[in-house]
């Protein structure tokens, strides 16, 4: 046994030296932090461990880690003075944030770092802050406002952001409606035709990263027919945007003659799309049925739960997930800490459902999907669970934590934010961990 261990160790050392020799940025990363004894309360796959970086930060939505390992996380909702963005610094190297500072007077969800700038969104605007060579914000008081005047309703109001490698930023503008009914979320109400929301929401808009005060006139509707996207990421391997759509709610409540409670809980799918310029995912006219694996005509638009959509303008999803799980974070893993199968694969943070009642709720976990060249190569599996602290979630309010944002650290650690209590988790891989 000892022989095997030392042999594999030797192999690992050899492997890491070889990789290092090829490309100095591709070092087999050794983790230096210790997981919490209880893995921060999470259930993880063998070899993985987790620690709480920080706790009780508020509604921490998306987060990003700079090259120095400092975390910036965006706070949602009404924020106290200078508490819109929280920066976490670990001065001791134990993985625990011990220097916590904050700035920004707007609530929001989106945050990203690209080419020396920190980008952050309110529910109507996007700002950027120049970073110094230590990854710190140079001027926290006066960011550049690059995007303004985005549509904001009472629902799906958050603006998630992603950046490409060509100076563009992509912003989700969620549809301020469930299914574009004449009377929103009202039993039997039919859909508006055409859906007027789509002119300024229900899609992804593209803007320049370096132009001030852009709005609809300066931007471009890059993709449409997306009800609401919270998790999105630029896949640099393919040079393509991927988004996770939150599928529509309440098929049974609104059309009880067509959908029973079981159908309501299982339909429609939460869907992942590979976005090209002009992609139309079909909301509100169609939804994706994960049991039939087909795009179906929505009941508001003449559907009867059986009528398949034949409209060729609507794209098929890259992958379909169970209904109502609420994908709030998407991250393509490019790090070198996790085993090889994770490379270029997708992590998705599912915030957890509410629309499966009276059936038990689901989600409240982070899943992994292996990918190769932008195509899923296997089924999704639960990667990190236990956020809710409940065996079965019967009511959403009872969930102790709900995973929301995902980020990758410079050492390949995976960071997960929780927007109930404001816990930041760091998940690490260590072969020796049981």
């Amino acid at each position: 046994m000892r022989k095997i261990v030392s042999l594999s160790l030797a192999f690992l050392v050899l492997l890491s030296t070889t990789v290092q020799a090829e490309d100095s940025t591709h070092v087999f990363n050794q983790i230096t932090v210790k997981p919490d004894a209880d893995n921060a309360g999470l259930k993880l796959l063998p070899g993985f461990g987790a620690l709480k970086v920080a706790d009780n930060l508020g509604h921490t939505r998306h987060l990003v880690v700079n090259a120095q390992g400092d975390i910036y996380t965006k706070i949602m909702g009404r924020v106290a003075s200078e508490k819109g963005i929280i920066k976490l610094h670990d001065s001791k190297g134990d993985g625990k944030a011990d220097v916590i500072t904050s700035f920004g007077n707007y609530g929001g969800t989106g945050i990203a770092i690209k080419n020396g700038y920190l980008y952050a969104s309110s529910d109507e605007e996007v700002f950027r802050y120049k970073l110094d060579d230590k990854g710190g914000v140079l001027d926290t008081k006066q960011p550049e406002k690059i995007i303004t005047g985005l549509k904001k309703g009472n629902q799906h109001e958050t603006k998630s952001i992603a950046l490409d490698n060509d100076g563009n930023i992509y912003v989700n503008i969620g549809a301020y409606s469930n299914s574009c009914q004449i009377e929103d979320r009202t039993k039997g109400s039919l859909g508006k035709m055409p859906c007027p929301i789509l002119d300024s929401a229900g899609g992804i808009w593209q803007f320049k990263t370096n132009v001030l005060n852009q709005s609809y006139a300066q931007g471009e509707r890059y993709a449409t027919g997306l009800r609401n996207v919270v998790g999105l990421d630029w896949n640099s391997e393919l040079n393509e945007l991927f988004v996770m759509q939150h599928g529509r709610d309440q098929l049974h409540d609104l059309f009880p003659d067509l959908y029973d409670e079981r159908a309501n809980a299982e339909k429609p799918a939460e869907t992942m799309y590979a976005i090209k310029k002009g992609t139309n995912a079909g909301w509100p006219y169609v939804y994706y049925d994960p049991e039939l694996n087909k795009k179906m005509v929505a009941p508001e638009y003449g559907g009867d739960a059986k009528k398949e959509s034949t409209d060729p303008s609507f794209s098929n999803p890259t992958m379909a997930f169970p209904a109502h799980l609420a994908p709030n974070g998407l991250l393509f893993y490019t790090g070198n800490q996790f085993p090889e199968k994770y490379k270029n694969g997708a992590f998705i943070a599912f915030h957890g459902s509410w629309n499966r009642a009276p059936l038990p709720q689901a989600g409240y976990y982070v899943v992994f999907v292996p990918f190769e060249k932008g195509k899923p190569t296997g089924k999704w599996e639960v990667f990190a669970d236990g956020f809710s602290g409940m065996e079965v979630v019967t009511g959403t309010r009872g969930a102790a934590h709900r995973p929301c944002g995902l980020a990758q650290g410079p050492d390949g650690s995976l960071y997960v934010s929780d927007d109930v209590k404001g816990t930041i988790y760091r998940i690490v891989y260590n072969k020796e961990t049981k």
């Binding site: 009472n154 929103d184 979320r185 009202t186 409540d253 009872g398």
Partner: protein
């Protein structure tokens, strides 16, 4: 034996109907309140559960909680009745904003609304007085 059973059932039914008729004018008795809660529970499953959840906790940031809510268990019955009749949109409730709209439920009868409200006022940690169909009727009439 069969005959006795029939008489008993008939008597109970008579009492229930009788009580219901008188509830508009008199203070409701405990038995009508119990019956109203039972009917309200059935209606809650059909009309309310999807958003307000099994535990009455709602959904943070999306749908308001009923359990522990001052609007639900408070004395301003007219305000509560109006929320069910007219729905709610974009209003802050007890300092929290909720994303989803609440659809109006004018299609429910006065008795159905009374039953649902009596149920939610007396379930989970809530404890409050009954709401009668007469009270719903009065609020509905005032609106016109």
């Amino acid at each position: 034996m069969k005959a006795i059973k029939f008489v008993v059932i008939a008597l109970i039914a008579f009492l229930l109907i009788n009580n219901q008729n008188s509830s508009a004018t008199q203070q409701p008795s405990p038995s009508t309140m119990k019956a109203s809660i039972a009917r309200g529970k059935e209606l809650y499953l059909l009309q309310c559960l999807a958003c307000h959840q099994v535990d009455g906790g709602g959904v943070p940031h999306l749908n308001a909680p009923l359990d522990g809510s001052a609007n639900v268990k408070g004395n301003n019955k007219a305000k509560l009745i109006k929320i069910v009749l007219n729905g709610l949109k974009g209003e802050e409730i007890e300092g929290e904003a909720y994303g989803n709209i609440m659809a109006p439920h004018k299609e429910l009868t006065d008795q159905q609304i009374a039953d649902i409200l009596t149920f939610v006022r007396n379930n989970w940690s809530n404890k409050a007085t009954q709401i009668t169909s007469a009270e719903v009727k009065a609020v509905r009439a005032k609106k016109k």
